[in-house]
Amino acid sequence: MDLDDAALLVAIREGSEHAFNRLIDRHQQGVRVFLRGLASRADADDIAQETFLVAWSQAGRYRGGASVRSWLFAIAWRKAKDNHRRVFRRRQREAGYLEAAAPADGPSAEEHLAVTQALQSLPLDQRAAILLCLAEGLTHTEAAEALEMPLGTIKSHVSRGRDRLRAALGDSS
């Protein structure tokens, strides 16, 4: 039987290893994609691991208001903000590396580079909103819960961010 996320958290609260493994398997990809848009690849995976460790130790604090997915993204977002403050200077160096070392083959490589650079140029809040709503398919409401921002702010962030990414792809519509 495949338990839903809330049931998994109940089982995790009771110490179920199996439920914890299922939770990781189910959400690691989304959490890591989100974090890779906010931090370097190595940092992102590190923060993703910490996110699941917090989920394990604080499963009892989940109250069921938001979806488990949003709750995990909320944990990841708080950790990503801490990381952003901590390694701001290092991140700037890595942005330079990305520019120099991005793959140059294939027709989509240029587009990928353009979108990545446009994404990196956005403020952190806007980037997080874009990643959750466009890359992870969360609704604006879910993203607002995860990022602890007003719904209107999320809509505005997504709209502006989307325009920037479209411009980077050469789409002026």
């Binding site: 990809q29 690849r41 995976d45 691991q49 587009e111 990414l165």
Partner: protein
């Protein structure tokens, strides 16, 4: 048109997404959890040992020298016991403290490239 470009953006944003199933990632999470548990237990055991030593020392203030010796013995026994209890994790920490061999470093670099 708008949906098309949104889908394209979504695809590009997920360009280097990790695999949907990634057992290595799960293992890393579990490993870190075990390390945290070990550190917490070690800290608790150490504190408990210190508390016992302090309590015994205060209770038998007149026999300070004897109690000090007993305290040291108790503390050492607790630490050794906890190390034996968590031998695999201790071995892991000791392994990490040593400078990596060339072959290990190369394997690690290869592993990072694979990621």
């Amino acid at each position: 048109m708008s949906t098309d470009i949104d889908a394209r953006i979504a695809t590009l944003l997920r360009h280097d997404a990790p695999a949907r199933q990634d057992p290595m990632f799960r293992l890393r999470v579990l490993k870190r959890r075990e390390q945290q548990r070990f550190q917490r237990k070690l800290l608790l055991l150490g504190l408990a040992a210190l508390a016992v030593v302090a309590a015994v020392g205060i209770g038998y203030g007149a026999r300070v020298a004897l109690m000090e010796q007993l305290g040291v013995v108790l503390l050492c026994a607790t630490l050794i016991g906890s190390c034996v209890w968590h031998a695999p994790v201790v071995a892991h920490f000791v392994g990490r403290a040593r400078p990596p061999k060339k072959s290990d470093a190369a394997a690690s670099a290869q592993h990072r490239d694979d990621d």
